[in-house]
Each structure stands twice: as C-alpha cells, then as structure tokens.
C-alpha cells in the first residue's frame, strides 16, 4: 500500500471524512477515552514534565549519534548470529525481504502490526512472489479482511470501523455467524488465526525500539500475536525505521514507560517482548534464523535540518488523540498511513513533498499536539516550519495568498498605511453590512470564505487609534 492512501486530493478526502458520521462518532469517543486514560496514567506517574524532558534528552542524543548506535546494533546482531540489511529505499527493503523469502521457499508468513512495513508496501511485494502474508493484529486483520482497507490511526488502525461494520465484514468474507459483541468476534479471530501461526514459515514484525548495546528488540503490545509471530516460525524478519533505537536497556525503560502511558494509558502493556535473536532455539521454540532490515526511506533527509526532532517520535499517537482536526476529518483524510499532527509533519518528508503540501495547513496551531508529545517534539512549530518551506523555499504558495500577505506586511510595516487601511475598513465593508444587526453575512474577496459559514461584525466606526487620538486632542484642548 505504501504511505499514500487513496487517490483523491486533500479537500475531497476531507469532505468524505466530514460526511462519515459513523467514523466521526467512533473517533470522538476514542479520542475522549484515550485522552482521559493518558492523563490518568501520567498523573499517577507524577513529575510528568521531568519524564518528558528525560525522554526528549534520550531521543535527541540517540538521533544525534544515530550512525554510532546503528553501527553498534548491527555489530551485536552479527555477533548473535543474525543478518542485517541497511535499506536506503523502500524498494531495497522489499527486495531484500523477497530474497530471504525465496531462499527459504516460504509461502506463508504471519505478521504482527508494523507501520514501517505498511510504509514500504511489504505485503504486496511478498504476495507478488507467491508468499501469503497474514496480518495477525486484530485491527490489522479486520482491515486486511475488508479488502485491504487502510489504517486510519497508527496505534488503533481500524478506529474508523464500528462493531457492526466489523461483523458485516466477517460475515461477508469469512462466513461469521455470531453477534457483534467484541468478545465474540475476537474469539472468532483467535480460532481463525491460531493454526496459521503454526503453519507459517516466516514471522515478520516491526519493532518499537532496538537496543544498541546488545542487539535486542522491544515489541510493545497487548494481544499476544506478536509473541506468536516471534516464537513459532523458524525464520524471523524484523523491519525497523532507522531512528527506532535506544543506546541501552536503561533508556529502554524510559521510552517504553512513556510509550505505554501516552499511547493507551497503561502502565505497561500486557506484553513487552524483548528478544535477542536468533536464540538458536535454545528454549526449544523461537526462530533459528533472524534478519533485521533497517529502513531509511527519506528519514535521513531530516537529519541536520530544523526538522530533525521529527525523528524523535516514538509513535505513541498521543498527538493524534488530542488533535481537533483529526477529530473531525479522521485518519483517511490525511491521505497518508501516518495521520494527525505527526503525520502532517512526517509525510511530506517520506513521500512527494508537493503532493502533501496541504497537510501542514491542516492545523489551527492550537498546540494540543505539542503539549501531548511525551518526547516534547514541537509539532505545531514544525508545521509552521513546513509552511515556511512551502512558501519561501519551494515557492508552492498559491498566488492570491502571496499577494494578500505581501499587501498585509507592506502595510503593517508602515504605521500610516496601516492606519489608513484600518480606517478605510468600515467604508469598504459598508455596502456588505447588514444595517439591522451590523454584521456582514456575505463578504467580498478575502472575507468571502469567512462568511461562508459565519457572520462578521462590521468594523467599528472609529478605530481605537482614532479614538485615542481624539481623546488626547480633547484633553489638550480642555487644558487650554
């Protein structure tokens, strides 16, 4: 599927989202719950701002020394007997995994939830060479079953579907005859999938964090499918975005604590699986062969720029869970598998910049994302930086906006011109002003979009400037 979802451009997608009442109801209720769960979890922890600061310091240091830590990681994996492939592009990553699958003559793979494998279109690539890939995370399984519907959230990918919709999908595609009770449907999926784990030749996972000092990986999850995926198949392939790494186990503690509380309001998720592969099946289960694929795919372009902190992201989605824009348009409207504020910052870097130039404007800059981020990424400021880049570096701003901004800034630099403009406002808008309620219902030019949905008060007859000046004059005259 790749990063891009859907073929439509931004505004039609927004319109679709806004019209989807079912999705919006689901998103509102999920946001409200996730927000309060997160607040409770962080309150319980106490000193949340210190935790955030520590998280920021760890992520900053790691990304600043990324080459060192990736070197250490790869050395340790080789020492443990694993293989490491550094992939500059999505294509390179896909081709390497294809090669491994072909060497193993594998026809069945099970996969646990991973955004980076979505990003590089791994499933398609494996299907092409005759390897069936089964998504085993409940939400991903639902999406896959529904003719590869697209994820709308990075932690809860099928957030946009309600239980009835899911029941219908199961009924239609899998002959499910039960009710829409979540427990019953989950039980059904358990039965459907259990034997598939035993049959699979290959397990594929993402990773939440790699630990450089020992060549280990952490997967943070709740369902247990990630444990089955890393335990039963004899070959394990882990795909990671190149920045998803911490120096040592001590830092792992911090980022995992931040992630669990921020993402789902849990102290720790049910399963945190920490593997150092291949274990040579020393426990009698677990993979005999291990491959790690480290993916760049555009990430390194952010290094050394004012966007570097984007790579600090730990993918908790707490920015998405508080975003008022996401709340109303849903994940699909972003046209990227990475939606919400982090998606709007990240996607233009990982995909075609021009194609996603609307995303940085899909924010009222309310700062809820920045406030929520557990590693203090200044998300709303990065959105402004994107806008600056679009306007000043890429020259992609629409012409009327450029003209309006030019007129505005020229005027605002000259007090005389500015006051002249202000004074002129009531006169200019007089023909459009409703005489009864002193408001403008249908404004001209730049005011038009405003009055599409709102009234605008008519400008005051006398500006503050003018009033103040008159006061001063009257006082001086009175004194005489």
């Amino acid at each position: 599927m790749g990063i891009k979802i859907g073929e439509k451009s931004f505004f039609p997608r927004v319109e679709e989202g806004i019209k989807d009442e079912g999705m919006r109801k689901a998103v509102r209720s999920a946001q409200d719950r996730l927000r309060s769960m997160k607040l409770r979890a962080t309150d319980e922890l106490g000193h949340w701002e210190d935790w955030r600061l520590l998280g920021e310091q760890i992520r900053k240091h790691t990304v600043e020394n990324l080459d060192y830590y990736l070197y250490q990681l790869s050395e340790n994996i080789e020492k443990n007997g694993g293989h490491v492939f550094f992939a500059k592009t999505a294509k390179e990553a896909r081709e390497y995994v294809q090669k491994v699958v072909q060497q193993k003559k594998a026809t069945k793979a099970v996969k646990s939830k991973s955004m980076v494998t979505e990003e590089i279109s791994l499933n398609n690539a494996l299907n092409e060479i005759g390897c069936e890939v089964l998504e085993t995370d409940l939400a991903e399984f639902i999406l896959q079953t529904d003719d590869h519907d697209e994820p709308s959230h990075i932690v809860v990918p099928c957030l946009h579907k309600d239980r009835e919709k899911i029941r219908q999908v199961f009924k239609e595609k899998l002959g499910y005859e039960g009710t829409s009770k979540p427990e019953e449907m989950a039980g059904f999926v358990r039965e459907q999938l259990r034997h598939k784990f035993f049959e699979a030749d290959i397990g594929i996972t993402g990773c939440n964090f790699a630990v450089a000092e020992s060549g280990s990986f952490a997967i943070v999850a709740n369902e247990g499918n990630e444990r089955l995926t890393t335990t039963l198949p004899k070959t394990l392939i882990t795909v990671m975005g190149m920045e998803r790494i911490v120096p040592t186990w001590e830092e792992l503690d911090i980022v995992v604590s931040l992630l669990c509380r921020s993402a789902v309001g849990q102290k720790l998720t049910s399963y945190i699986t920490l593997f150092t592969e291949p274990g040579g099946r020393s426990t009698g289960d677990g993979p005999e062969e291990f491959h790690l694929v480290i993916v760049d795919n555009g990430r390194s372009n952010m290094l050394g720029t004012e966007f570097q902190s984007t790579l600090h992201c730990i993918r908790c989605a707490s920015c998405i869970n508080v975003c008022p824009i996401y709340r109303h348009i849903g994940g699909h409207a972003y046209g990227s598998i990475y939606p919400g504020p982090i998606g709007a910052v990240l996607t233009p870097w990982l995909a075609d910049y021009k194609e996603y130039k609307d995303l940085p404007y899909a924010s009222s800059l309310c700062g809820a994302c920045t406030e929520a981020c557990p590693v203090k990424i200044p998300l709303h400021e990065l959105l402004i930086k994107h806008r600056r880049k679009i306007v000043e570096d890429e020259n992609l701003a629409p012409f009327p906006e450029k003209m309006a901004m030019m007129a505005f800034t020229v005027a605002a630099k000259s007090p005389k011109m500015f006051q002249y403009g202000s004074k002129l406002a009531p006169t200019l808008l007089f023909p459009f002003t409703n005489k009864q309620d002193h408001t403008i219902h249908e404004g001209p030019g730049p005011i038009k979009p405003w009055t599409e949905i709102r009234d605008l008060p008519a400008p005051a007859k006398e500006t503050f400037h003018k009033w103040y000046q008159r006061q001063q004059e009257e006082r001086t005259n009175g004194d005489l």
Partner: protein, 237 residues
C-alpha cells in the same frame, strides 16, 4: 551472518549530520533528570506486594498469596476451578526447590497430564503447550507498579510458549523477586550486558492476560494469548 550496505548507509547519516562518521567512543551523557529513580524508593517488599495486588485488579488478573507449604494445595484448587487437566510447566530448578515435583508426579497418577518443558524434547513441547489448559512459569523479576512478571527465557526448560499458548497462564512469584518497576529490571539486564554475559534470547514482560481494544476501544480480555492469568505470590520465598 552478514551485514549489507552498512558503510554507505551510515556515512550518509554522518554527512547529513554534518560531521565525520562515529563508530566508537560515544558516551551517553548524564541526563539532567531522573524521575524514574525516585519512584517507590522507600517501599518495603510488603508495600510492593500491596501495590502489585491493587494493580492486578486493573489488569484483570487473579491475585493469590500463599506459602511454599500451601502452594501445591492452591495450585490444585486453581486447576479444579479451571477444570484443567493438561498442564505445562517451564523446566526450572525451582520446581524442585518449591517441592512441586512430588505434587506433579502425584497429579499424573490421577487424571492429569503434566508436561515439563525441556528444550531437547523438540516439537513435542510446542504440541503439548498448544493444547494445554494451563501454563505455569516462575517469575524471575516482578514489577510491582505495573503488575508484571519478567521471564528470562534463556535456555533449556524456559520455553517462550509456556506462558503463551495455553488458555490460562499461572505465574508463581517469589516474594523476593519484587522490585518497584521496570527501571530495576532493565538495570539488571544492562549490568549483564556490561559484564559481557549472554542475554536470554527472549525476555517476556507479562502484565495480565492478552487483550485488545481494537473494536470501538472496548477492552476485550483474551485475544491471541492466554484468556486468563493468575498470579500466585509465595510469601516465604
């Protein structure tokens, strides 16, 4: 065992960062704050067990406390309650230490099937575990804050599947294994790495039964992993 494209990949990173490539001698800085080290600092073992018990409610896990002497009796009660007949237990020297050999031998004399995981039993282990009603492991480190048992599945008998495939998971938790939170467990592992020791191929942090909130954010207990979890704290160990 091979590493592909590393040189090119890492030099690009260094170039973008505007400096020479670093492949050695990067030291972690001293972080300016350490809130995790302050948490639950003066908690006694009893305080930790209490916090753990409270958290068990949150994570839908059955909490029990007993002594070594009473442990077999309590396990038997659990099996009966679950209607369990097939039990898989991780091969762990503590089985003997806790006097459970005799208990399990006796069980097999009745209607029970008890399988102790041993790496050299091969696929037989997995086959048994996949059909078992109950899987039992000992906890190696126990995190009070989050209600978590830490399993260091390093070699031999400590199969990953024991705590994963059966419908019910039971953890036997020595009271001495309690630490406040993940911090202390990660520190222990970090020390092992520093000492150059091999790490367990899989370390599992387990906090309750498997669950999901993927359908309308409704908590569903029991998805791919065990649908039920019971923790038994052994007070005199």
């Amino acid at each position: 065992m091979a590493i592909y494209n590393r040189e090119e990949f890492l030099s690009r990173i260094a170039e973008k960062l505007g400096r020479e490539q670093k492949i050695e001698s990067v030291n972690r800085p001293t972080w300016t704050t350490a809130p995790h080290l302050e948490l639950y600092r003066d908690f006694s073992k009893d305080d930790l067990v209490n916090m753990f018990e409270t958290q068990c409610d949150v994570i839908h896990t059955h909490f029990k406390q007993t002594s070594v002497a009473e442990l077999p009796h309590l396990l038997r009660e659990c099996f009966d309650e679950l209607n369990a007949q097939k039990v898989v237990i991780a091969g762990d020297p503590r089985i003997e230490e806790y006097g459970l050999n005799r208990f399990f031998t006796k069980l097999t004399e009745s209607d029970f099937y008890v399988h102790t995981w041993e790496a050299d039993k091969g696929d037989e282990n997995i086959e048994f575990a996949a059909n078992a009603d109950v899987g039992i492991t000992f906890s190696d480190i126990t995190l009070a804050e989050s209600g978590t048992v830490v399993l260091l599945n390093d070699s031999g008998g400590k199969g990953r599947s024991v705590s994963l495939l059966p419908r019910t998971y039971i953890a036997i938790i020595p009271k001495s294994s309690f630490v406040p939170r993940m911090t202390q467990a990660m520190q222990q592992i970090h020390i092992r790495v520093n000492e150059g020791k091999l790490l367990p191929s899989c370390i599992n942090l387990i906090s309750g039964p498997s669950n999901s909130a993927d359908i309308e954010m409704n908590l569903i207990v029991g998805v791919h992993g065990p649908v039920r979890a019971t923790y038994i704290v052994v007070s005199d160990k």
